[in-house]
């Protein structure tokens, strides 16, 4: 690297350093503190839209109102290795562009109905998503399902979690229809 390039880069980066704070002021504050992730309000919105699209609110609560979106970010923040987090963030930032190039539509700017179509197309084309976007999407999907299916609502009203099952274990009983084995 010659001296001229270095100086140019320094100028750009110090300009960036100068400009950044005002950019930050324009960004809405995120709703939860995530110590390992640089998450903007826009990123949070994307995760919430994914949660609501994947498992929507119907006559029963959906993933978003059960806070599966916050759960997903907490898991990414607390339980992933640094390299996986970086890949996740890169994938997150590239997701809407991938949506546009794949379906012609921005996921963020589409209607709720269109978003379902977009995700169906994204899932059908998983080999074309690129490594980072693929990792981001399917990891988010996994955590949202985990957050939803381990929520109090789900484990109380949908599939009953028995904290104290009681001593009767039967090793061999007929399978009945609608048998809940969870």
């Amino acid at each position: 690297m010659n001296r001229r390039t270095l100086l140019k880069q320094l100028a750009v980066s110090s300009a960036a350093a100068f400009i950044l704070p005002s950019c930050l002021l324009e960004e809405k504050k995120v709703s939860q503190a995530l110590s390992n992730l640089d998450i903007k309000a826009g990123d949070e919105k994307l995760i919430s839209l994914l949660a609501e699209t994947l498992i929507p609110e119907t006559d029963t609560p959906g993933a978003k109102s059960l806070k599966a979106d916050s759960f997903a970010l907490v898991m990414v923040n607390d339980c992933l290795e640094k390299s996986e987090q970086e890949k996740y963030l890169a994938g997150m930032r590239g997701f809407d562009a991938a949506s546009k190039s794949l379906t012609g539509k921005s996921f963020i700017d589409s209607s709720a109905e269109e978003r379902v179509d977009i995700l169906n197309q994204v899932e059908a084309a998983k080999d074309k998503l690129g490594e980072d976007v693929g990792a981001f999407y399917f990891r988010t999907r996994w955590y949202i399902i985990q957050g939803y299916t381990s929520s109090q609502h789900f484990l109380t009203n949908i599939k009953k979690y028995e904290h104290i099952p009681g001593p009767d274990f039967k090793g061999c009983v007929p399978v009945t229809t609608n048998k809940l084995n969870s």
């Binding site: 985990q146 484990l155 009681g166 274990f169 039967k170 061999c172 399978v175 969870s182």
Partner: protein, 569 residues
């Protein structure tokens, strides 16, 4: 010299001292206090009171921030304990973190520890199979280690003694290689486990599947109610501590029992630095304790000392108990202290599916599974490796969630329950051969925060273990195939020794002071008022989960110590 004060010395003098409050220390405490001995139990970690100090026991799945998973920063800082299956968000407070108590791995060894009142008895897998005559006679018959100084008949009444109190569920199966005991009603096998049981009986002469005996109160007797324990409710959350006292732990059972006698003094946060030797009387006189919090040292005295610090820490303590008489560690005239450490080989697993019994399933949860006792080399040597393996075996059907689709499609699918096929799984529990080259020693160059040298562990697998892994995979593949199981998948985890959490030996029992450290009553040959009755005393390992045997050996040794206290002290 501190503590010249006579009154203070009197206050620090007991009839017996027990070092460690885990599964064997709890038993020593119970037996000693019941017989009227004022007993001091020293525990290096924090107090854990039954039902008071089980912070996660009533938490629901959604109340765990990471739904059970251990955060990455904790995993990265603690790579060893993070490998343990039970080190999860709900029980991680009962495990020693690598960073808190480092040790030296001369060879890879995953040392899993629980420093608190109750020790690992809060966390154990609660499997309680008796040893058989074939196990005790093993070293003599097959020419390894040294001959055990006891036989099954010596321990049988003590197995009964501890089983009745602890509460062990199981069937009387009538197998010579897995003696029956004092059992509470057994927990059921599943249809496919029973089917495999029949198939093994039909296809082989000497292979049996039984329901594993386990320390769960399936039908409380008066003795369990007297302990304040109730029937096991099959929560399968044992590692959090059980509010029902449904499984046996020092916390729920032996320690409160000992406390009720009025003879127990329990001192948590007490790191025992060394056992003090009285050169004139030629016996141990007490212990030097470092307070874990203040780091102050204080001595306690007693004419009888039980060492139950957990196998490797017992080795560490004895090696560190140096005196003019014993410059290489207490009782270590022959230089064998710390040597002949062994463990259980848990490397191989085999999973499969079964297409039959589609119209039936299971109902409820259970805290145990099937067990296949050792069938290799039982009556005579028949393979190119010594000894053999037992195996855990389970078969069940589980709800398999379909999570395809997006939107309402996905939401509806998640609400459905779809019963999967019968899944069968098994893992080996192999006997390893104690060898002089598998040993622990002190690293004097590195001291921990309490002034104790770090323990250096040099333990490895050998060719016998490799052959056994191969044989387990071959034999179980054949057994599965004959039973019609499909999609058979085998694996060798290559996990380091230690992760089995069945480390044993280093202070082995034997007949001859030249080749062993302890006699037939678990007394140090060379220092008769010190008894070692935890995993360190084991001459060989057999294939059974060892805790029940430690309990029985402890109760037997206390009985001897009390009856012969005049000659000991």
């Amino acid at each position: 010299m501190p503590y010249l004060n006579i009154d203070s010395e009197k206050q620090r003098t007991f009839d017996a001292i027990v070092i460690g409050s885990g599964i064997s220390g709890g038993w020593a405490a119970k037996e000693l206090t019941e017989r009227g001995l004022k007993t001091l139990v020293l525990e290096r970690g924090k107090d854990v009171k039954h039902n008071v100090d089980y912070p996660t026991t009533n938490m629901m799945p959604w109340e765990f921030k990471h739904r059970g998973q251990i955060p990455q920063d904790i995993r990265e800082a603690n790579p060893v304990v993070s490998k343990c299956y039970a080190f999860r968000e709900d029980a991680m407070h009962f495990f020693v973190k690598d960073t808190e108590h480092p040790y030296v791995q001369d060879k890879p060894f995953d040392w899993i520890r629980g420093y608190q009142v109750g020790g690992k008895s809060l966390l154990w897998a609660r499997q309680t199979q008796r040893w058989s005559e074939f196990d005790f006679e093993g070293p003599a018959r097959d020419g390894f280690a040294v001959d055990w100084p006891i036989r099954y008949k010596d321990l049988a009444p003590w197995y009964s003694h501890v089983e009745k109190f602890a509460g062990i569920s199981g069937n009387r199966d009538g197998l010579a290689e897995l003696p029956d005991g004092e059992f509470l009603p057994a927990i059921e096998l599943t249809c496919v486990e029973k089917y495999f049981q029949d198939e093994l009986r039909r296809q082989y002469k000497n292979r049996h599947l039984v329901v594993a005996r386990c320390a769960h109160v399936t039908q409380p007797q008066q003795i369990h109610l007297d302990q304040g324990r109730a029937q096991c409710q099959h929560r399968n959350l044992c590692q959090r501590g059980c509010p029902f006292g449904g499984y046996f732990s020092s916390n729920a059972s032996t320690l409160p029992w000992a406390a009720k006698t009025g003879n127990l003094t329990l001192r948590p946060f007490s790191v025992v630095h060394s056992i003090l030797f009285d050169e004139t009387k030629n016996k141990a006189k007490g212990v030097l304790v470092i307070d874990a919090n203040t780091k102050e040292s204080v001595e306690y005295y007693a004419p009888i000392i039980f060492v139950n610090a957990a196998a490797l820490n017992t080795n560490l303590l004895l090696l560190n108990s140096k005196s003019a008489r014993f410059p290489n560690g207490l009782g270590n005239d022959n230089g064998l202290l710390g040597k002949y450490v062994a463990f259980h080989n848990y490397r191989a697993r085999i999973n499969a599916e079964y297409e039959g019994f589609q119209d039936v399933t299971t109902e409820g949860k259970r805290p145990t599974s099937g067990y296949i006792p050792r069938f290799r080399n039982v009556y005579k040597q028949e393979t190119d490796f010594l000894r053999g393996y037992a195996a855990g075996f389970g078969a069940g059907r589980y709800d398999e969630q379909d999570s395809d689709g997006v939107g309402v499609t996905l939401k509806d699918k998640l609400a459905l329950s779809k019963l999967g096929p019968w899944r069968v799984n098994s893992h080996m529990m192999g006997e390893t051969i104690p060898k002089e080259t598998n040993f622990v020693s002190l690293d004097e160059s590195q001291k921990d925060d309490w002034g104790m040298p770090k323990l250096k562990i040099s333990v490895d697998y050998d060719e016998n273990d490799e052959k056994m892994v191969k044989d387990f995979i071959e034999q179980f593949t054949e057994m599965y195939t004959k039973a019609g199981f499909t999609n058979i998948r085998t694996s060798d985890s290559k996990q380091a020794p230690g992760l089995d959490i069945h480390e044993m030996g280093g202070v082995r029992m034997g007949k001859d002071p030249k080749t062993s450290l302890l006699n037939e009553w678990n007394q140090l040959h060379e220092c008769k008022n010190v008894f070692v009755t935890d995993g360190a005393c084991m001459t060989s390992t057999s294939t059974q989960n060892p805790s029940l045997t430690y309990m029985a050996l402890t109760a037997r040794a206390v009985d001897y110590a009390v009856k012969n206290s005049r000659s000991i002290v």
